[in-house]
């Protein structure tokens, strides 16, 4: 049996963990298990590893296109190996490849927690803008053109504030 991580060495560490009520199994060679801190479960969750592996399969399809992060030169080939991205700019670059993975990993797809002070205004503005655009679409489908015109002006007004 081959190691699920490097897929070259034969597996000698077999792990089982129950995640979200489902039994998950992973087989690893000694090197990979040591690298991933399997002998120290304080630093290790099988869930994280499994999600990383599952994601790698999704990522596979996009790897072929050879997309590269302009900021740091990272490619998804590396992501397949480590499950880590290259820099913060990689997120928008590889958004397609990691979107499904993120939704499988987390409770939601939108951040609702703390916002750094310097982003508070931007984030607030984006939220208002999104809301206005949504109301505009609704007004248009309902053929409520009077309201649509007001909303359009509001959106335009926000653009000028910048």
């Amino acid at each position: 049996m081959l190691c699920d991580v490097c897929k070259t060495e034969s597996a000698s560490v077999f792990l089982t963990q129950i995640v979200d009520g489902k039994m998950q199994k992973v087989n690893m060679c000694e090197n990979c298990s040591r690298e991933r801190g399997v002998t120290d479960p304080t630093a290790f969750a099988l869930a994280d590893l499994l999600k990383g592996l599952g994601a790698a399969q999704e990522v596979e399809q996009i790897v072929g296109r050879g997309q590269k992060c302009d900021t740091c030169g990272f490619t998804l080939v590396e992501f397949k190996k480590t499950g880590r991205l290259g820099c913060s700019a990689c997120y928008p670059v590889f958004s397609e490849g990691i979107a499904t993975m993120l939704s499988g990993m987390h409770k939601g797809s939108n951040h609702v927690g703390k916002v750094p002070e310097r982003f508070v205004k931007t984030v607030e503005r984006e939220r208002v803008l999104k809301d206005l655009q949504q109301r505009l679409r609704k007004a248009v489908t309902e053929e409520n053109y009077e309201e649509a015109a007001t909303l359009r002006d509001q959106i335009k007004g926000m653009g000028e504030e910048e």
């Binding site: 990383g52 913060s88 609702v112």
Partner: protein, 375 residues
Amino acid sequence: MAIRNILNKTSDWLGGDGPHHQIVVSSRVRLARNLRGVPFPGWAKKAERVTILETIRPRVEGLPEMGDAYSLPCQDLSALEKQVLVERHLISREHAAKGLGSAVVMNRKQNLSIMVNEEDHLRMQAIRSGLQLKAAFKAINKVDTELEKELDFAFDSTLGYLTACPSNVGTGMRASAMVHLPGLVLSEQINQVIQAVNKIGLAVRGLYGEGTEALGNLFQVSNQTTLGESEEQIIDRLQKVILQLIEHEQNARMTLLQHRPNTLLDNVGRAYGILRHAYSMNSKEALNLLSLAKLGCDLGFYPEPWQVAVDELFMETQPAHLQKGSQQKLAADERDALRAEIIRGKLQECPGPAMASVLSSVPAPTTPPKEIGDA
């Protein structure tokens, strides 16, 4: 030498006086943060990591909380010193493997530690004794708010804080509590409990063992996800689950006393005998026996002051803590002998478990034992 002071002084949070400290050993909250536009530590070249460290380190050292801090570059720490810090949960195992370009800054009380260039540029954590998740979050959140004034953290309005591993995006927060659950283990209810906790999206990890067979009956319960919930919601949810775990553990202990006193007494009594009289003990055995001694303290089998001695032994018998007192590197069998010696010495005056007096004060069972898992 700064490092000597740290190694010789125990961590503040080990004092064991926080709320619910009999069952909840400690609470930890860590935040992951990264600088915008520079590679994450795992992808950065050595020179880049050094530059990033030079940007971050003075800001961290300048924090009001870090007025008396120890700031330690990883390459200046020996393997043994790093291992001691790992055993105290002040740095991660991953960070212990780092050298030039990484550092750890921690306060004197050792309840606040900031790793620079671990998996993320910043891994900041606060530890408190007992169940104090909110207090730990408050402390680390304050540090974060201070640092964001001077450091440009990578943040996205949809994804939140951006981290090297996508499993941490959003709040970048991992809140965890270390719980001691011998009652649930002895009454064989622990697997059910772990499954129930897993089902609601929280992770349960052993302390030093694999899977559910945690050594020393110690378990870490933490949030699994970081995106889609606020920090307060995550902590609130975790807090509620921990409070339920405490209740189940207390029920399990009472049920054992009432319905299976012999099982309990046999475990506690044997642990006492071995701890007092063994001449060689590996760390796994030590943790498991100390867990039973701790349970004995909680249940009143031993006079109260012994609680502190037992709690201290949990840390003092860890491999690196044992080693740090010796000049040369000890072989495994030498460590086992030393471990047994330290335990015998510390518990020399400890009286035998007061079985009869505890049992006579146990109230007669009123209700049938409560089922686990219906919470």
